[in-house]
């Protein structure tokens, strides 16, 4: 074990300019760190097999980029901000971990750079919006019903179905490619012990996959270890709101397109509850980021804002659309429908490359972590400082 360790250290590439990259991604003060370890000790989530944030700060200071890009530790952090609150140097380790996640999203997928560079992002978002608008313009229904609401007379159901399917395939494939890229980045890397992923214990891998999905994705138990419960609840609301709305949309499609025999009340109820949850969740985080009272909301990168605003607008336009349909107001319904589709298109098509991508990377990291942790429970070592 120690032999492999020392080899890893010898092979490490030093990139002194690496710290500047991280600073540009929002960790403006991390170089102040004097390595006392207070952050790691106060962190409610750090563990023997994954010790952070101090160790990662140390890697960044030394320019050990490989150690960071092959580490899953940034994904195990939920940014509760306690490390930043108690840091004796005000080095803000929490924002450093957040910056690493921004870095990793770009490392795993080159397309992500389009969304993380401010200039490129402005162009990309404009382009995406124009594509959505043109799509709606060319495939619009030519005789919208202006007497009573029939949204599919404005945008045909078949177009939404086909476009949705196409987007789904693109997003799904991109996500898969990105996950493979993440796995390769971790597996070939030098960041012990996560680089020691071996495929022999299939049983453990399968068991932990389901554990991760249930405990960490569905219930987010690790997030709940962060001290502030309201933030955990808001995040859970956001997650389940989004999932609920997605399910409600699928059911409606099932009814309208495939002739599924269910009353529309069910998706309506799911949709209303989920919509409210998503509005609450996104508003909670928007307000927190505006107030800048706590460590985790003090610094906002543009990608944080875009993600939150898109989620919020999707919720707002969706809710208004429902209200207008129920009130039988044709023109407002059609306008809102178009707006909603454009926002949802932006949100979904970009998902594997923006902050949204944490929804795929974090579960994979947690899955790997739970497996590695289980196998290294006894005699687990860590790399020195």
């Amino acid at each position: 074990m120690s032999g492999q360790l020392s080899t890893a250290i010898v092979e490490a590439k030093l990139r002194p300019e690496f710290s500047k990259t991280i600073m540009r991604l929002g960790a403006e003060k991390f170089y102040r760190c004097f390595n006392c370890g207070n952050c790691t000790a106060i962190c409610p989530l750090t563990q023997d097999t994954a010790s952070y944030p101090r160790k990662l700060i140390r890697y960044a200071v030394m320019g050990l980029e490989d150690r960071i890009t092959s580490s899953i530790d940034p994904w195990l952090c939920y940014y509760c901000g306690e490390c930043s609150d108690y840091c004796p140097r005000d080095a803000d380790p929490g924002s450093f971990m957040m910056a690493l996640r921004r870095l990793l999203i770009q490392k795993y997928s080159i397309v992500s750079k389009l969304f993380f560079n401010k200039m490129a992002a402005s162009v990309t978002w404009t382009a995406l919006t124009i594509i959505a608008a043109l799509g709606l313009y060319f495939f619009r229904g030519h005789t919208p019903n202006l007497e009573s609401v029939d949204i599919f007379s404005f945008i045909p159901l078949s177009f939404i179905h086909d476009a949705g399917l196409a987007i789904g395939i693109i997003v799904g494939l991109s996500a898969l490619l990105n996950l493979i890229s993440m796995y390769r980045s971790i597996a070939k890397g030098t960041s012990y012990p996560h680089s020691k992923i071996e495929g022999k214990h299939l049983g453990i891998w399968v068991k932990n996959f389901f554990k991760t999905i249930i405990y960490e994705v569905a219930a987010q138990l690790k997030y709940n270890k962060c001290l502030k419960k309201s933030r955990y609840i808001a995040h859970l609301a956001l997650l389940w709101g989004f999932i609920g709305l997605f399910i409600a949309t699928l059911i409606i499609f099932g009814i309208d397109f495939y002739g599924l025999q269910i009353t529309k009340v069910i998706p309506f109820i799911i949709g209303s509850v989920s919509g409210a949850a998503m509005l609450y969740g996104s508003l909670y985080f928007i307000i927190a980021r505006l107030r800048k009272k706590e460590a985790h909301s003090m610094y906002s990168y543009h990608t944080d804002w875009v993600f939150l605003i898109l989620l919020f607008l999707a919720g707002v336009t969706g809710s208004l659309l429902t209200i207008f349909i129920k009130a039988n107001m044709p023109t407002p319904s059609y306008v809102m429908f178009a707006a909603h589709l454009m926002i949802v298109f932006n949100l979904l098509i970009s998902a594997p490359f923006t902050k949204f991508a944490h929804a795929i990377y974090r579960p994979l990291a947690l899955w790997i972590n739970s497996t590695v942790e289980e196998r290294l429970q006894y005699g687990g070592e860590s790399v020195g400082r």
Binding site: F34, N35, C36, G37, N38, T40, A41, I42, C43, T46, Q47, D48, S51, R54, K55, Y86, P88, R89, D90, S382, V383, G384, R385
Partner: protein, 429 residues
């Protein structure tokens, strides 16, 4: 010689400055706000790095101050006004009433034995009790009793007067009034030292909540044979000897949110504490948690090495995040990251000693320039290392910047020379 010099603060720095001036034939007024001189050093058991007995160094100096014909000791007094300029300062000093006639009091302590009112003893950090009429500590200089007006039964309830009845020299005087003195001095030396910060500012360490968490000065009293337990190292919770002690460095210091400064002496003081603990209780396990061990002075590195090799004291490079208490045993669990291995760990220990940071104290009556670090600014750290920005006013000891006893003594001598030049009225252009 000509004009006198005023020394404010009767700790080791002020005492040394006064003696060095007086020995040159300069008249010195030494003003001390407490009833006795001695300062923080009087509370110390041993000094690093030699482990010499602190009182054996300090007490003879204190006695010399009291006996020196050129020193007028104004204990229990405060400087309330300073006017004038270098060579000609007009100083007003308020002498607080002890309610004991200093000329008559012979320091027999009869009043103290008879006084019925008990008060937490600030000299022992409240770990023992004193009477409402008291000596600050047994070796107090001047050895004159003082009545603590806030706790005296006569002043609070208009009863008692037992001390008055038993005083063999009729020294008690309840009618004593504050006295205003006016001094004309050539120069002023500030040696006002420091206060420890309150470790409750760092709430994760549980000081004040967990009885077995101590400050370094409390521990100093605990190991001292003149301390509240007579030198027995026992826990506050159960009076038992601890089997393990953890010392945590940089509490309320080197933290930008509380106090960014290094207190300079804590590293060596804690190494000393750990050694003393080992000398008192050879079986005790001592661990020092440090961020950087600053062993910069003469003989300090050797002292640190000795602690490791000879006394088997463990050193862990970490700033612990929190301390938790087992409510039954009152034992403490420290959470930290061992930064040499990168592993988060916990350690169970029976006593914790916090090396608390310092806050400088300086007289508000002088328009001193205070640096960003909170200490009195120096005129020029290289050319005038003890001069303040006010001509004729010098600063020594911790008021000028955190330092240990040897450095304070060096500064005191330096300031004494500077002040004596002014006192002699000689000005070289």
């Amino acid at each position: 010689m000509d004009k006198p010099v005023l020394v404010i603060g009767g700790g080791i720095a002020g005492i040394q400055a006064s003696l060095d001036l007086a020995d040159q034939g300069v008249k010195v007024y030494l003003v001390e706000k407490l009833p006795s001189i001695g300062g923080k050093m009087a509370r110390l058991d041993k000094t690093f790095p030699t482990l010499d007995c602190a009182s054996c160094i300090l007490t003879p100096k204190m006695v010399s101050v009291a006996r020196h014909p050129n020193i007028e000791l104004l204990a229990y007094s405060e400087v309330v006004e300073v006017k004038g300029s270098a060579g000609d300062f007009h100083v007003k000093v308020l002498k607080k009433p002890r309610y004991v006639d200093e000329d008559k009091c012979i320091g027999c302590g009869e009043c103290i034995t008879k006084c019925p009112s008990k008060v937490p003893d600030e000299f022992n950090m409240g770990m023992s009790q004193r009477k409402a009429i008291y000596f600050l500590f047994p070796q107090a200089v001047p050895l004159k009793a003082t009545i603590d007006r806030e706790h005296c039964l006569y002043f609070t309830k208009n009863i008692c007067r037992v001390c008055e009845r038993f005083c063999p020299t009729k020294a008690i005087n309840f009618e004593q009034k504050p006295e205003n003195l006016e001094l004309n001095v050539a120069s002023i030396i500030i040696a006002t030292g420091y206060e420890l910060l309150d470790p409750r500012i760092a709430p994760t360490y549980g000081y004040g909540k967990y009885p077995n968490v101590y400050t370094s000065l409390e521990f100093e009293r605990l190991v001292s044979s003149t301390g509240p337990t007579g030198g027995e190292v026992v826990r506050r919770s159960d009076n038992k000897h601890p089997r393990s002690i953890a010392f945590i460095q940089c509490v309320c210091s080197r933290d930008v949110k509380i106090n960014p400064n290094c207190s300079a002496f804590c590293c060596m003081a804690s190494v000393k504490h750990a050694i003393l603990a080992k000398e008192h209780l050879p079986e005790v396990d001592c661990t020092i948690f440090y961020m950087d061990l600053r062993a910069f002075g003469k003989g300090y590195q050797e002292f640190y090495n000795r602690a490791m090799r000879e006394f088997g004291i463990k050193f862990i490079r970490a700033k612990p995040a929190k301390i938790e208490e087992d409510p039954e045993t009152r034992d403490l669990t420290i959470t930290y990251e061992d930064t040499f291995t990168g592993v988060k760990k916990t350690m169970r220990t029976e006593m914790v000693v916090l090396a608390v940071g310092v806050k400088p104290v300086y007289p508000e009556v002088l328009p001193l320039a205070i640096g960003e670090d909170g200490y009195v600014s120096l005129k020029d750290a290289f050319k005038e290392p003890v001069a303040t920005t006010i001509d004729g006013v010098y600063v020594v000891g911790v008021a000028a910047g955190a330092k240990d006893i040897p450095d304070s003594v060096v500064q005191a001598g330096s300031a004494a020379i500077k002040a004596s030049i002014l006192a002699g009225g000689v000005v070289y252009e």
